[in-house]
């Protein structure tokens, strides 16, 4: 078991964003995390990434307790994450952006640069381009390249594929698949069903702060509880009557 | 009796600190932005009061309103021309913007008004009054009381009116506020106006009772920081408590240790707060 989250809750004052969520990921899996807006999956995701400390519960990664570890410690341990809105270092070039990630495991500049060059090639970017001249798909790609350079064992992708044209989406999916093939375990938070169906083998559905369903993508989307979560009770009843 | 006099004097001044600091804390709460020129707004309010008295022969209500209004307009103008552009940019730009503004306002005031200390000519608030066993200048008493009333009014405005709840909504969650049809840009502009206006009228109140020069802006700015840090960033009520406390501490330090130490103690308190309790008494960090 590479990542195991047990009974994770997160409260903001009186509001319980995450209520007893569990997640376990084996090394080499590629898992999807879906659910309607406000279901708590982003908060849960941030707990996994170390940005927020859970109120209760435990998160164990490769045998080590990372429940309250900082984002930096997460990266060092081998957990990488992307951000929903790309946080490109706009005053730097593409290669320099990726080098920031590469420096984690390659403290010497030349090693970091070589490693970064390989990643830049793998992700199909151009190294000397100023990062600010990249459009949204380029920035999302750079976001992924940068975190890849940190050499993660587990990659948490936060809606990294939103807002892309069908062609760009196809390229992005191919990229994620290629990354997965190098042996990196992936957890994707996504709204786009195509991504979930084609990439993931197992899906967890979040609603109201906890996991309400889990299984293969096909099984999960036809589960009543899931339909109800997305579309509401009335739709489910109408389905039965009509 | 002297002790009581010192305490009351400190509280009255502290009330004025509370009033102008509440503006600063409002901006922080809404925009995560620190206005380094806030002290200069207070200083400008003082000079507006002076000009109204000297040119128009106006009394306290007139110069108070003039200070509030003119600074409100200035606050809005600064938001529209400067702040709303830098808020989206790098930290360097954000901090330099109001820092540069502070310098510009301060030294313009030095240039126009000279570095001499001035006071407001005799107004209807002249004289001292005897309450209990102590003597209080009428101006100080009125200024302090009005300051408390206005600070409370601001608090009530924020928590009990439609406009206030819109302001708070933007402070709480900008995106959600937009979804509810509130325009953050408008609300932030209003907040800047209110913040500057509060500083302006606090300045006018201060001018009735205490002498000043363009240099006071720097001091008031720092005092506002301390009050806001102590009271909690974003909390007007916190500013009220903290302002009174700071005024009290200042008065006691001046009395016990000597006048020069009143600022040292306050700044020292700020540094201590940063180390021990940055979120202050009542607010979010």
């Amino acid at each position: 078991m590479l990542l195991e989250a047990t009974n994770v809750s997160k409260a903001f004052g009186n509001f319980l964003a995450v209520a007893g969520a569990d997640l376990s990921v084996e090394e080499g899996e590629i898992i999807g995390l879906i659910g309607p807006n406000g279901a708590g999956k982003s908060t849960f995701f941030n707990c996994l990434a170390g940005e927020t400390a859970p109120t209760t519960g435990r998160i164990v990664f490769a045998g080590a307790d990372v429940t309250r570890a900082s984002p930096e410690a997460h990266a060092r341990a081998g957990i990488g994450r992307t951000f929903q809105v790309p946080t490109t270092f706009t005053d730097m070039t593409v290669i320099d952006n990726v080098m920031v990630g590469a420096f984690l495991r390659h403290p010497q500049r030349n090693d970091a640069r070589d490693h970064a060059r390989r990643i830049v090639e793998l992700t199909g970017l151009r190294g000397d381009q100023p990062a600010r001249s990249l459009g949204t798909p380029g920035r999302k790609r750079l976001e992924i390249a940068r975190v890849l350079a940190t050499g993660p064992r587990l990659l948490l992708l936060d809606e990294s594929l939103a807002g892309l044209t069908p062609a760009e989406l196809h390229d992005a999916i191919t990229l994620v698949r290629r990354i997965h093939e190098t042996g990196i375990t992936i957890v994707i938070v996504e709204h786009i069903m195509e991504v979930i169906m084609t990439l993931t083998k197992r899906v967890l559905v979040f609603n109201q702060g906890h996991v309400i369903a889990s299984g293969t993508p096909e099984a999960v989307v036809s589960e009543e509880a899931v339909i109800e979560a997305y579309l509401g009770r009335r739709h489910r009843r109408r389905e039965h009557d009509g | 009796m002297v002790a009581v006099q010192v305490i009351v004097g400190g509280l009255l001044l502290g009330a004025i600190y509370a009033l102008f600091s509440s503006g600063l804390t409002l901006i922080w709460g809404m925009m995560n932005f620190i206005n380094f020129a806030h002290g200069e707004f207070v200083m400008l309010g003082m000079y507006v009061a002076l000009l109204v008295v000297v040119w128009l022969g106006g009394g306290p209500p007139l110069f108070g309103l003039a200070a509030a209004f003119s600074l409100f307009v200035l606050g809005v103008a600064i938001y529209l021309s400067l702040i709303r552009y830098v808020i989206r940019g790098p930290m360097l730009a954000q901090i330099l913007s109001t820092f540069g503004l502070a310098l510009f306002l301060r030294y313009s005031a030095f240039f126009i008004f000279s570095a001499n200390f001035v006071s407001l000519p005799q107004t209807s608030l002249a004289g001292t009054i005897r309450i209990g066993g102590i003597f209080l200048p009428v101006a100080q008493l009125v200024a302090g009381v009005v300051a408390i009333v206005l600070t409370m009014a601001l608090h009530v405005l924020l928590t009990h009116t439609g406009v206030g709840s819109k302001l708070l909504a933007v402070a709480e969650d900008r995106a959600a506020a937009m979804l509810m049809g509130i325009r953050p840009d408008r609300m932030q502009m209003l907040a800047w106006g209110l913040s500057a206006g509060a500083a302006g009228i606090a300045g006018a109140l201060m001018a009735t009772a205490y002498p000043w020069s363009p240099s006071v802006g720097e001091t008031f700015g720092l005092i506002a920081f301390v009050v806001v840090a102590l009271g909690g960033f974003g909390s007007v009520l916190g500013s009220l408590y903290a302002g009174l406390i700071i005024g009290l501490i200042q008065a006691i330090s001046a009395f016990w240790l000597g006048a020069i130490y009143k600022d040292i103690v306050v700044y020292g308190l700020f540094v201590a707060l940063l180390w021990l309790r940055p979120q202050g008494l009542m607010g979010k960090a």
């Binding site: 990434a49 940005e51 900082s70 984002p71 930096e72 990266a75 060092r76 951000f83 946080t87 270092f89 706009t90 005053d91 730097m92 070039t93 290669i95 320099d96 920031v100 420096f103 500049r109 000397d128 940068r146 975190v147 940190t150 | 620190i34 380094f36 400067l82 830098v86 940019g89 790098p90 930290m91 360097l92 730009a93 954000q94 901090i95 330099l96 913007s97 820092f99 540069g100 503004l101 502070a102 310098l103 510009f104 306002l105 301060r106 313009s108 240039f111 720097e218 720092l222 920081f225 840090a229 020069i260 130490y261 600022d263 040292i264 700044y267 020292g268 700020f270 940063l274 940055p278 960090a285």
Partner: protein
């Protein structure tokens, strides 16, 4: 943009040429313009460039905007004169002690504030600088409001009191070279990349494993060290210090505006800024006489606001935006 750390080989040749020309100009300046007036401007320029470059490390590269950096400058200035006044030490011998004090102060400020948002740090720098300034003005040991003086006449070469400003010029030039070389080295290595990442997005930097607080602290300590040295150089030359010339807000402002005008976060930005502002300040001081300093700071305030509003990257950035356009027009013509 770190031209030095950019893609390999691409822009090294023109850079080397610029660097050589610059070094030559600076080295030969006092030999060509021998008038003491020009020499004085040169010395002032160098000192301003050193201070601004020192500030640049933490304010420009790391994006942690200190508006009270005079506290380090002042410590660097007071300590040598204090050691001289108390124990007769040659001022230059106390420079390491001054650095130690400045580093301690840097740690005291950075440790609590670097775990909070950037504004806390900026506010803390103003408050602490002001606190120290007022306090120094009341403390008799350090001369209170009057301040301290250095050796009036040289007791030996080690007092570094020279009649001509020429030795100071080359001493300062050496220190400037040291600061710039250090900054260039930082730019190329992991530390420099991490600084720029932190400036761009602390959140993203942390997620990539950058030790954010630790890195900021290192930048502040390095910056404080060089700023302290600048203060020491100042008193070694002028032989006098008081609370305002040591810890005053105008000392802090000068560092910030010079770096920001030229280009905060660039190697040569502070030099460019000093090149423009030092002669400008000398000119306005002589133009407006006594009331000059007031007008100068009105101007400074205005310039800072304009930089913040329109070109936070300073003249360096402005040049890089405009130059391609100019080149195209030149080619078309």
């Amino acid at each position: 943009m770190a031209a030095a750390a950019g893609p390999d080989g691409q822009s090294v040749k023109p850079q080397r040429l610029t660097l050589t020309l610059l070094a030559a100009a600076l080295l030969l300046y006092p030999l060509v313009l021998t008038n003491p007036f020009y020499l004085d401007i040169g010395v002032t320029f160098l000192l301003a460039a050193i201070s601004a470059s020192a500030w640049n490390i933490v304010g420009g590269y790391a994006g942690q905007v200190s508006v009270g950096h005079s506290m380090f400058f002042g410590l660097g200035a007071y300590t040598p004169l204090l050691f001289y006044t108390l124990w007769g030490w040659p001022p230059v011998a106390a420079v390491p002690a001054a650095v130690v004090l400045s580093v301690a102060l840097a740690l005291a400020i950075g440790l609590p504030t670097f775990r909070l948002t950037g504004h806390y740090f900026s506010m803390a720098t103003i408050a602490v600088a002001e606190l120290i300034r007022i306090f120094t003005g009341t403390w008799n040991l350090v001369g209170a409001a009057i301040g301290l003086q250095g050796p009036a006449r040289a007791r030996g070469w080690w007092d570094l009191t020279f009649r001509s400003e020429l030795p100071y010029y080359y001493l300062f030039l050496g220190v400037l070279a040291l600061v710039l070389a250090t900054t260039a080295l930082v730019e190329r290595r992991r530390f420099g990349f991490y600084l720029r990442a932190i400036k761009a997005s602390e959140r993203a930097a942390a997620s990539l494993g950058v030790p954010v607080r630790h890195t900021k602290m290192r930048a502040l300590v390095l910056s404080a060290t060089f700023t302290s040295i600048a203060g020491s150089l100042y008193v070694i030359k002028t032989g006098f210090i008081d609370p305002d010339s040591a810890f005053g807000i105008l000392v802090s402002v000068q560092m910030v505006i010079i770096a920001a005008l030229g280009g905060a976060g660039t190697l040569y930005g502070p030099l460019i800024g000093a090149l423009i502002l030092v002669p400008l300040q000398t000119a306005t001081n002589s133009l407006f006489g006594g009331g000059g300093s007031g007008l100068t700071y009105i101007l400074y305030g205005g310039i800072i606001v304009l930089i913040a509003r329109f070109e936070p990257g300073g003249l360096y950035e402005l040049w890089h935006r405009v130059a391609p356009y100019l080149r195209r027009r030149a080619h078309a013509a």
